[in-house]
């Protein structure tokens, strides 16, 4: 029912899209965004936009709902419990194969900060060096499937990643999955020296923290999506310089996280957010080529039944100029 009412109001919006300032201020729309984790610097843009009133300016009344270890934002968006979600690009592609038609409208990160983490001096040159070592990896995670098709990893002792590193730390030879933007910092804090190797080095580099909606929602609420995306991107731009203040807001939603760790995350993710393609095309920008590559890769992994056109799954059209 939520989608229906959304659809009606969207209809009126598209008709009078030329001069809508009056209507937009008159009619504030309630929308919900599900994060892909508890609030972090990854979501800095959202909080910056919220804090600076960008959503309100665009006629949106936003509720932010944090995710969690087992919370699937895709399920919540697909079922209509939320309008917007954040997820990684490969999750969005896989979802489509299950009949969940989503459209990515902006990405927070231009690449994937997903990496392997090693004890210092125990790093790897090549992914095949993982053989013979313990690797803590989340069961089913797609990049691991990808690596297994690219390299012979039959000698790896695969262990489940559980969100803790207590088993990794004492074992010099162990390898664990990690986010470049967070785990290494905590290791340093505890005096554990580590190195990292980006998964992207293997050629698997999906966009991370991607803003998406369902295809149906998009078709009926183009203006809302446009407004949201605008606020999202502008929020990221504001975050670049004001992250120290915004982090305090983030911490209100995730009080257990240390402000220093948010700072580290914000600084180490800057290149992913503002660098690469974003340097040229602005924050949130995506390319057809990257999406097509990802689709092809996932198809090769048999995670897709068939290859489809990348344009069906992403759109730069809603990004602000």
């Amino acid at each position: 029912s939520e989608t229906e009412t959304g659809g009606e109001s969207a209809g009126t919006e598209t008709e009078s899209s030329s001069d809508t300032t009056e209507e937009e201020t008159a009619e504030v729309k309630d929308v919900k965004l599900v994060l892909n984790w508890f609030a972090k610097a990854q979501h800095g843009g959202v909080y910056a936009a919220q804090e600076n009133g960008l959503f309100e300016e665009n006629g949106l009344n936003l509720t932010i709902e944090p995710g969690g270890p087992q919370v699937s934002s895709i399920n919540m968006v697909a079922s209509g419990n939320a309008e917007f979600g954040l997820a990684h690009a490969d999750q969005i592609v896989v979802a489509r194969n299950q009949g969940i038609e989503l459209v990515a409208v902006a990405t927070a990160m231009q690449g994937s900060p997903q990496a392997f983490m090693f004890h210092k001096g125990h790093g790897i040159e090549d992914f095949e060096d993982l053989n013979g070592r313990k690797v803590y990896i989340q069961p089913g995670i797609t990049y691991w499937e990808y690596l297994k098709t690219q390299y012979d990893l039959s000698g790896v002792e695969e262990l489940a990643y559980t969100g803790q590193h207590v088993n990794f730390i004492p074992d010099e030879d162990a390898v664990t999955q990690a986010f470049l933007t967070s785990e290494p910092y905590f290791m340093e804090l505890e005096g554990v020296e580590v190195e990292t190797k980006l998964i992207a080095d293997a050629g698997y580099d999906p966009y991370n923290v991607v803003l998406y909606v369902t295809k149906d929602y998009l078709e009926e609420n183009e203006e809302t999506v446009r407004a949201f995306t605008k606020a999202f991107v502008e929020g990221w731009n504001l975050y670049e310089d004001s992250y120290e203040e915004i982090n305090k807001i983030i911490q209100q939603d995730n009080p257990d996280i240390e402000i220093e760790s948010l700072k580290f995350e914000a600084e180490s993710q800057a290149d992913f957010v503002y660098g690469m393609d974003a340097a040229e095309n602005g924050v949130g920008y995506m390319t057809e080529e990257r999406w097509a590559t990802l689709i092809q890769q996932l198809n090769d992994l048999k995670l897709l039944d068939e290859v489809f056109d990348a344009n069906e799954i992403f759109a730069n059209d809603y990004l602000p100029e």
């Binding site: 699937s72 999750q91 089913g140 489940a160 995670l303």
Partner: protein, 285 residues
């Protein structure tokens, strides 16, 4: 003084035995009709409500979707089930043996009980997710840790029930044992344990189903080690890949195994209690 003798009315007897046969049939019908009807209703609701409300299979798959997924990926599902079954059974046996053992120990001394029982409660209430890494450090990743987690979850219901049972012995029977100078151990073996049997059995029933939850959760939090993954692993993978129908197939496989496990334990319970306890006794009139 009068003795009245009425000959056995053969017809009457015949009729009554006919009645009994009919009654037996009706009982049979009810006994099987009920569950079958319930199943049919349940499955049709599940099949048609999503269809009617247009709920997508990735949110709530219909039974047919689930069956299709199970058939398609049977070669993955079956081995996963076997692993989970194995882990759960071992975990359950561990919780039964250790649980009953510890209860007997605690019940044998009031001091021990009040000193150590809190730790049994802690074992139950401490969030296993939090201590999983320590379990892994001690027992290694994979099978051992999974079994330990399954054990930890199933352990407390047995302890709680067994202790309750051991402490609720009929006072007069206790007096009997006191009088005959029974040792603590004799009282335990010959009086308290038999008297606690109904409680113990109820604990075992709860705990056998928890053992499954335990081993599935265990695979989540303790990893699968070097070995093959069970249902927990399969569920994680299915969740990551958003294969909801297969995820449901895994969940239902777990649930079905749970029911079978439960039935087996119930059967054993009936056999054990048969000789004396009301709940297991066919009332004879």
């Amino acid at each position: 003084m009068t003795v009245k003798t009425v000959p056995t009315n053969a017809e009457l007897v015949n009729e009554s035995s006919k009645l009994k046969v009919m009654k037996g049939k009706q009982k049979f019908n009810l006994k099987y009709l009920g569950p079958i009807l319930a199943l049919v209703i349940f499955l049709s609701l599940w099949q048609f409500i999503p269809a009617l409300l247009d709920i997508k299979p990735f949110i709530l798959p219909k039974p047919t979707d689930v069956v299709a997924a199970a058939v398609k990926d049977w070669h993955l599902l079956w081995p996963a089930m076997q692993i989970t079954i194995f882990e759960s059974v071992i975990g359950f046996i561990l919780s039964a043996v250790v649980g009953i053992g510890i209860s007997v120990l605690l019940a044998s001394s009031r001091v021990l009980e009040i000193s150590l029982y809190p730790y049994a409660v802690i074992l139950q209430t401490i969030p296993i997710v939090a201590i999983a890494p320590i379990i892994v450090i001690w027992f290694g990743s994979g099978f051992n840790s999974i079994v330990i987690i399954s054990f930890l979850i199933g352990f407390f219901p047995i302890v709680s029930n067994t202790l309750m049972g051991l402490n609720s012995v009929d006072k007069n029977m206790g007096d009997l044992f006191k009088l005959y100078n029974a040792s603590k151990w004799q009282t335990m073996v010959k009086l308290r344990i038999p008297a606690a049997m109904p409680f113990i059995m109820s604990g075992l029933k709860v705990s056998c189903t928890l053992a499954i939850i335990g081993s599935i959760t265990g695979e989540y939090i303790a990893g699968i080690g070097g070995g093959k993954g069970g249902l927990g692993y399969a569920i994680t993978v299915a969740a990551v890949q958003l294969k909801t129908p297969y995820l449901f197939a895994c969940a239902i496989a777990g649930a079905l195994f749970g029911i079978v496990f439960y039935l087996i334990v119930s059967l054993v319970s009936r056999l054990v209690l048969k000789s004396w306890h009301e709940s297991a006794m066919e009332a004879e009139k």
